[in-house]
Structure formats: C-alpha cells, structure tokens
Amino acid sequence: MATSARTRPRFVAGAQTEKDTAITEQRPRVRATDLLIYAVLILAALAFLVPFYWMVVSSFRPTAQFFQLPIPLVPNPPSLENFETLFARSKYGRGLLNSAFLAIVSVILQVWFCALAGYTFAKLRFRGRDALFVGILTTMMIPLGVGLIPNFIIMARIGWVDTYRALIVPGIANAFGIFWMRQYCLSVPDELLDAARVDGAGEFGIFSRIVLPVIRPALASLAIFVFLSSWNDFLQPLVFLRSEDKFTVQLWLSIVDRQGNMSQPAIVMAGSLLASIPIVAMFAVLQRHFIAGLTAGSVK
C-alpha cells in the first residue's frame, strides 16, 4: 500500500521493514511535536548515559584517584592501571571466554526449549495444560535463594559440582522464558496454524516452519535476556564452580573486589566495563531482529 510519507500516521508499528522506510520516506517540515519528542528522547538518553559515562571515566583513571573530585570529562592522566591490576589478580581473559561460552550455550538451549514449550502452552490444547502452566508460573514466584542449598546437595550427589552442566542444564527450565514465549505466541493467528494442519503439516513442522519465523521478535529478545542473565549471573557460578579455569567474569569481579578488608571499586568498574562490551555489541547487532515487521509478511 503505497502512501505518501507526508500522510503516513506517526505510530505505525511493523507495517514495513526498516529498509523500505529508509528508501521511501521523505523529510517533511519538522513539526513542533517532533521537537518535543526529540527533546524528551535526548534528555532520557543523557540520563541513561551519564552514570555509564562516569563508570567509563573512573575505569581509566589511576586507581588512587577513584574517590577524587572533581570527576573530569577526560581522565587526567589517562591510565590503564585498573585494568592491569585486574588482569594481574585474576584470569579475566579466560573468564570472558568462559562467560561467553556459558551464555551462548544457554541461549541456544533455553530459547529453543522455551519457544517449543511456550508455543505448546499457548496454541495446543491438551489435558492439564492450564494446571501445568500455572504450576510453572507459581514456582517463578518463589525467591531464588531458597532452592540454592538443596540444589547444591543434588549437584553434589550426582557429581556435577565444578562442571558447566550444573550451570546450563537447570537453566533450561526457565519459567520466565516459557511465560514470555507463551504470552507472545498467544498473538499468533490460529487461522495460520489451522490452515497448515489442513495442508497436512505435522505439529513439529508447524512449529519450526510457520511459528518460529513469525515469533522472531520474541526469540531475539529472549536471546538477549537469556544472554544477559547468564552473563550477569554470579550466584550460580559462585556456588557450583571450584576450578579457577572455569570461573566466570562475575565471579572474578567479586574476587578482586575484596582485598583483605576493604573493597576495590576502581578495579571492579574497569572489569565491568570490559564485561559490558560484548553485550552492547550483541544488542546493537541483534536489535533489528526484534524490530522489523514480520507479521505483515506472513499474511502474504
């Protein structure tokens, strides 16, 4: 439906892909409301950025200057001291690799199984469906720390202490992931699925070839959430890991933080900065996957 850019309504979601938009959109005169919107967005951006910026600056200042006022725009003198101390006191490089490995594997497994199960709860009818789903939901409401010690006892008994299995496998049963997938799958049109069944497609085929492409935004966003939560997790690695070679980034940060009796915030800041980079990069790349309008495509 070709309409001139001038008359296209402002709040259009998913109507066209970003690429189309860039080509066809012409810049009309700027309206006052546009300025207001930009003002708000920029203010918000500053609010989100400033604390982050302080973290960046503090990481590149000499360690002893951490508490010193005023906080400069550019570190003076710029120093890699914090990073040097970080790498001297820990196996941080290895930690980054370990965290990445754990996160990627978790993403693949969790997104797959949660999508499959979430879709099932949303669109397939079977006995006990609602009861089973509510059961999962309610366990989400139990505070996390509660199961930690029994979990450790189980892991100790099956010999999974100090393995990555202990970190990856339990995570597959991610109640949030299922909840998210199920909510999102509710919006997949039933007619789509019925048509496919009529055409003779098997249940698994329907899921993999029809549903998955349609729920791409949910998959991409879940991937990001799972990656983040695995990357930032420190409670599980803390309890289950023993070998330094297996330690994750967050574990190392907590170790270098305490030297005897005092904390070392400058070094932790530097380490966190390093740890943030992969995720920010991932997000910048992945974001188009949960923005591009896709349901429009399925209608054709």
């Binding site: 309504p9 709040f11 998913g14 989100f48 973290m55 979990n151 049963a173 009529v198 990001i224 907590s254």
Partner: protein, 307 residues
Amino acid sequence: MALALPIPARRETAHPLDRGWRRAAPYVFISPFYLIFLAFGLLPIVFSLGVSLYDWRGTTPGAFVGAANFQVLLHDPIFYTALRNTVFVWLGSVPPMIVLALVFAVLLNSQRVRFRSVFRTVYFLPVVTSLVITGLIFKFLFNPNFGLMNRLLEPLGIAPTNMLADPTWMKPVLILALLWRWTGNDMVIMLAGLQSIPGDLYEAARVDGASGPQTFWHITVPLMRPVILFDAIISTIGTFNLFAEPFVLFGQDGGIGQAGLVTGTLLYKNAFVYFKFGYGAALAWVLALIIFVLSMTQLKLGSREAD
C-alpha cells in the same frame, strides 16, 4: 483480526498414527522442559518447604518446630518494615517503568524518529551492567562528598546531604536506580510486543481519521495487553526478590532506620549471613504467597475487559 483467507473444510486425517501423534505432541514438546523443571526446580522447592518447619541454623537441621518460624516471622516488626518498603518501591518503580517503557518503545518504533537504533542502544546500556555495578554506580553518584548528584543540586540551592543515609530519600534513590537500570529492559519487551500488531490495523485507523494518541489508546494498548501483563507480573516478582542493588546501596541491614531494607535483602540476610534456613524458608513462603496473590490479581484485572 480477520484475514481474507478462504478456510476450506477440515479434512479428516486418515492415518491413525498421525492422530495419535497430534495428541501426544504437546506432551512431548513440553517434556524436556518439564523434566528438568521437576528435577532442579520443583525438588529443591519442596525440600525448602520442609525446612521451614525446622529450626535449621547453620550446619544442623535442628528440631522440628512446626509453625514456630512462621509465628516469629509474622510478629517481627522488621518483616513488616521490609514489606512496607518493598511495596513503596513497587509502587514507585513498576507503574512508571511500564509507562515509560511503552512510550519509548512506541516512539523508537516509529518511522518519524531518526537514529532510532542509536537511541535504543543507549537506553539499553544500563541493562547491560550487572546489578552490583548498578548499586555501586548509584552509591557513588549519591555520595555526599564526591557524588555527581550533590554537584547538580548545589546550583539549585539544595544543600548537599547524604541522601543514602536519609530515610526520606533512600527509597527514592533506589527507585531512581531501578528506573535507570530496568526501563531499557522493559522497553525491549514492549518493542517485541509491538511487532505482533499487524500494520493494517494502523492503516485502517488512519483511513478512519484517528489521531496518534487515539491510535495509541484504542489499538496499541489493548493489543499489547498480554505483553504488558507479562511485564507487570515479572516486575512484581522482581521487586519482591530485589536484593543486589539495595544491598550495595544500603548494606545488609537496610541502612539508617532500615529505610532501605527490602524483602529480598531480608531473605538473603537470614539465609546466607545468619544461616537461619528454617526462618529463611518461612520468609520465602510468605513472600511467595504475597507475590502469588498480587500476580493473580493482576492477571484477573488484565483479562477481565474484553475488546
């Protein structure tokens, strides 16, 4: 959401195996999830249900005390302080965050706005930081001696105070930290949700002459209901489990006047510092009940209105 597709009459699938598979498929699809869930999710929880009935301190299971832990808990003024604080934080952070996230998502999804992906990345930056770092950042931001906040407030004529040690300001600071840290997260959820709304609806609205805000209220929000509900529920759960940020900001006792003590910190303290597992388990159960009630209420309210 009517689609202009002809739906032919359903053909009965002749193959019995096919029918059997269609019936079994759901169970097969959810079984990997469910098996793991039973082993590593449910089992530990059931165990801790039992623990709440014992006086378990440290390494020894202790004696069976029945409901004693619950009784002490429900008479403990500290528990109610933590509860009040948590509810305050919930009210101050969850509704505003949902609104902000939805507005940002809509704005950053609209072709009218340029540099959308840059804005989205910037808004997501705080989410990337770990919870401990968030706590540290705000702890230093509001430090009375060298924090940025006081520097900003000085020209406005507000004397530098230690907001982190002032019971009036501690929770607002925490709320600010939470809004900073989590809005981007909710925004991503909303963004994904917006993609499920078909474009022709907006086209139809435009043709009918609806304005931006009208479209927002009558199309976007109702269709986003499952997603908004999801967000509301997990934010509620998150708030009651909140531990890392307040722990870093105020310490394990919740700071001056325990104004910064939230239920998550209380649970952590009892379970992992005092090693009072019986008491901690009882606390966890009471919290779970509260969260359950709140979530069910939200679910009921959310699904009551029909389109």
